[in-house]
């Protein structure tokens, strides 16, 4: 796409740009993108947030066995691998790392960085339900985070600044939403892989550049009438779709499928809800990020709400099949995929469950399973 060339150029120099900013005194804050860390808070403090969302490579996973027990989610364990191997330069620049501690795998991630990474880790506690005291607790955690950020940069996070940042982030979310929803059409103007790429880019790029690029792209796509080859319309869902973990997406598109919508708790930017900051912006953040979000699989009693949401996506995007992609050992998603499979069976919607631990050796049999799945759908 023509419009994203500018974005690509920007991302090419992003690392050196960030390093320069750091030299000039700007604080860089890394965070695990589990969708529970309001980046608006980081921006409002004058720091720059960087998502630590790399995945898809086997070496950091192997390297991590020196630090963590082996029975742990692949993405979560790989993070310390990336850090100690110095394989991903972005991982070396944060002055502070925020980990929203969601389940025990992410807790393991936080611990491994605490013990071995040599950088300060701030843990943001994420409750596993939406009851009253859970909201209060999450809000209290956000206030602690606010204090820590203010101390880091020396800049007060005023309500005004926070509202401004929320508006900007809403802008970004809204644009992604608009573009994503275009895939409801019979002829989606953008592929799943391209959209996922945009989502990952939005976690690393300068927001202003990103918003400008998304606006241009949206305008272009609205008039773009190129007919793309029709393939099985797929909802891709699961635990984590990391930056660099392209295997399943590539295999699906090569097999002729069209990923029309995706729902992942980690690795991608969530964009379904905006933050309504009319009143107390801190409460608004807590409300949007915890209460309004679709609960992740590690929420207690998540199936009810999550499945409703997934079934709505299936209907709205006219999906032909669901591919559930979990990483190895992430049992909350593994078990939930089993229950969801039974739910879908009743509706005759085909579903494929695949696992990965980022090993290149999986490609062979993953390809066979995905191709068979897509071909079966297309044969109707």
């Amino acid at each position: 796409m023509e419009m994203t060339k500018g974005l690509l150029a920007h991302l090419d120099t992003r690392l050196s740009e960030l390093r320069q900013q750091k030299e000039r005194g700007t604080k860089i804050v890394g965070y695990t993108p589990t969708a529970y860390m309001p980046e608006e808070l980081v921006y409002a403090s004058g720091a720059l947030p960087i998502a630590l969302d790399r995945g898809g490579d086997i070496e950091p996973v192997l390297a991590s066995t020196s630090y963590l027990g082996r029975v742990l989610d692949t993405f979560c364990r790989a993070q310390i691998g990336y850090r100690v191997m110095h394989q991903e330069p972005l991982y070396q620049i944060p002055d502070l790392v925020i980990v929203p501690v969601t389940d025990l795998h992410v807790r393991g991630l936080a611990d491994s960085w605490d013990f071995f990474a040599g950088v300060e880790v701030f843990r943001l506690g994420v409750p596993h339900s939406k009851v009253g005291h859970a909201f209060q607790h999450y809000l209290a955690g956000l206030n602690l985070l606010k204090e820590r950020l203010e101390k880091l940069t020396g800049l007060e996070i005023t309500e005004k600044r926070l509202r401004e940042e929320i508006a900007l982030s809403n802008s970004l979310r809204g644009l992604l939403r608009e573009i994503s929803l275009m895939r409801k059409s019979e002829n989606p103007p953008i592929s799943g892989k391209e959209f996922i790429r945009l989502s990952h880019d939005s976690l690393h790029a300068d927001r202003h550049v990103m918003i400008k690029a998304l606006k241009s792209l949206r305008d272009e796509l609205q008039v773009n009438k190129t007919i793309r080859p029709k393939g099985a319309r797929i909802l891709l869902t699961g635990s984590t779709l990391a930056w660099g973990d392209d295997k399943v997406v590539d295999l699906l598109e090569t097999a002729g499928a069209s990923i029309v919508v995706e729902e992942f708790c980690e690795g991608l930017r969530t964009y379904w809800e905006d933050v309504n900051a009319d009143d107390d912006p801190m409460k608004a953040l807590a409300d949007s990020y915890l209460m309004k979000r679709v609960p992740c699989a590690f929420f207690r009693g998540s199936p009810e709400e999550r499945f409703d949401f997934l079934l709505r996506l299936v209907k709205d995007f006219n999906v032909d099949g669901v591919v559930w992609y979990s990483l190895m050992y992430r049992e909350t998603y593994g078990i939930e995929s089993h229950i969801f499979h039974k739910v879908l069976e009743k509706t005759n919607m085909p579903m494929l469950i695949v696992n990965s631990e980022y090993s290149p050796a999986e490609t062979g049999h993953l390809r066979t399973r995905i191709e068979t799945f897509i071909q079966t759908i297309e044969r109707g």
Binding site: G108, D111, G125, H137, G301, E331, I335, K342
Partner: protein
């Protein structure tokens, strides 16, 4: 019913009339045949000190609790299953709530009898059933939870009226209960906690916010229990249960002290069985435990006077974090190598500082749990507590048994090893395995690791 077997599990006198028919019915449901009973007699006599009347009473408590569990619905009770590790104070209150309620951590009750008494193979069909219902195969998912799911699906234990999902330690528990909810429509009450502390300041830094959150979760769970079981679990009742729990703990104080003797008078196989039978928040454990402990105290005192124990006097002493429900693959091997095990992680250590006092019973429970067990607070809390235990028990070595599917305990044994070797200066060995699932157990490798470790420890002495 084989009278030798009944004698072995301490069922005698008046109890016989009441318990034998129930035992036979329950064993029928478990499909236990006479050859199983023979095997049970051989195993239990070999692994545990069954010449002690107290041990026979302990086994009686465990077996009778299992019978109570299996026949609960048949005997007209409302049934609630807590999960394992239990939130003891709450669960004990539930188990003592009324004669018409049966409440216990079902998987523990099943595994602590089936596995050691009839052999780990007895549990395999249950594990396999669970693996067909969404739980990952082999050691990727917890065998306790597989027991929880598989035993219900296989019809060995009744479908409960309520599931108490203690997920303040574990994410797999609530997911397993969601499978059960999906299969049978059973309501679920969750108790959650959040691991938002790095634990460097444990236990002083247990945050008030976290105590409150946890306390609220416990309170909500008690409310749900009251609602579904149609029996009010008031703060008063919970206070009584907490007090009773403390009594049982105090009754075992002598026994714990006795383990400091040289030679250690009891095998850790015995001691772990005692802890499991009496402290798993079961009704039998709470009500009959104190008597059994009293009998044991006397018998162990005699052993100390006679200078008797499973390992010779002067033997090196090691701390073992935990062991499978059938302790023989691990504990028997360790003691056979001439290493005495005076304590496990279940033992308490004097934790520095004065505990905070709370008016609210819920906050008291929440705080006490995070203070009593470092692991309930954070990974570093677990390591700090291990360090303290190793120091207080003055051991010559540490064996960290890792239950592989447990994201709680299996992540940082290497870090714990590093810290303890450096700061306490004793050798540490890591043994991987599972509490219940021994299908992939490599006895030979475990033996090699333990033998080498024993050599290191003995040399230090």
């Amino acid at each position: 019913m084989d009278p030798e077997f009944l004698n072995l599990i301490g069922i005698e006198g008046e109890e016989l009339n009441k318990e034998v028919p129930r035992l036979e019915k329950a064993f029928g449901i478990l499909k236990i045949v006479p050859k199983d009973i023979d095997r049970a007699k051989e195993r239990v006599s070999r692994i545990f000190s069954m010449e002690l009347r107290g041990m026979r009473k302990i086994w009686g408590i465990a077996v009778k609790e299992l019978v109570d569990l299996i026949l609960a619905k048949e005997e007209g009770k409302k049934v609630a299953y807590g999960s394992y590790p239990p939130l003891s104070e709450l669960l004990v209150a539930g188990s003592l709530a009324s004669d018409d309620i049966y409440c216990s951590p079902a998987e523990a009750v099943i595994d602590m009898v089936l596995s050691p008494m009839f052999g780990p193979d007895k549990v395999v069909p249950i594990l396999e059933t669970a693996e067909r219902h969404g739980l990952a195969p082999n050691l990727a998912a917890c065998s306790f939870l597989k027991t929880r799911l598989g035993a219900i699906v296989n019809g060995i234990v009744p479908i409960p009226d309520l599931l108490l999902s203690f997920c303040f330690l574990c994410d797999q528990t609530p997911k397993t209960d969601e499978v059960l909810h999906d299969l049978y429509g059973i309501p679920v009450a969750y108790v959650d906690n959040i691991f938002e502390d790095n634990g460097y300041g444990w236990p002083e830094d247990i945050s008030q916010e976290r105590v409150e959150y946890f306390a609220n979760e416990i309170r909500c769970c008690a409310e749900k229990f009251s609602q579904v079981m149609e029996h009010e679990l008031t703060e008063e009742k919970v206070r009584e249960a907490v007090a009773l729990n403390a009594n049982v703990f105090r009754a075992a104080a002598d026994l714990r002290e006795f383990m400091k003797a040289d030679p250690v008078p009891l095998s850790q196989s015995d001691f772990m069985m005692i802890s499991r039978a009496v402290y798993s928040a079961t009704r039998r454990g709470s009500l009959e435990g104190i008597e059994a402990l009293a009998i044991l105290s006397e018998e162990v005192k005699k052993r100390i006077n006679q200078g008797v124990g499973p390992v010779a006097k002067g033997a090196p002493r090691v701390l073992l974090t935990n062991a499978p429900m059938d302790p023989s693959p691990l504990v028997t091997v360790i003691e056979g190598l001439g290493l005495a095990i005076p304590a496990t992680s279940l033992a308490s250590a004097p934790i520095k500082g004065t505990p905070r006092a709370y008016d609210s019973i819920w906050e008291h429970i929440a705080y006490t749990l995070m203070r009593r067990r470092g692991a309930y607070h954070s990974s570093w809390g677990w390591i700090l507590q291990l360090k303290e235990l190793a120091s207080v028990w003055n051991v010559d070595g540490l064996i960290i048994f890792v239950h592989l599917p447990c994201r709680q305990y299996e992540l940082f044994p290497l870090k714990a090893k590093e810290v303890i070797e450096k700061e306490i200066g004793i050798p540490v060995v890591i043994i991987e395995g599972d509490f219940v699932d021994l299908r992939d157990y490599n006895a030979q490798q475990t033996r090699t690791r333990l033998e080498t470790f024993a050599e290191l420890v003995k040399r230090r002495k």
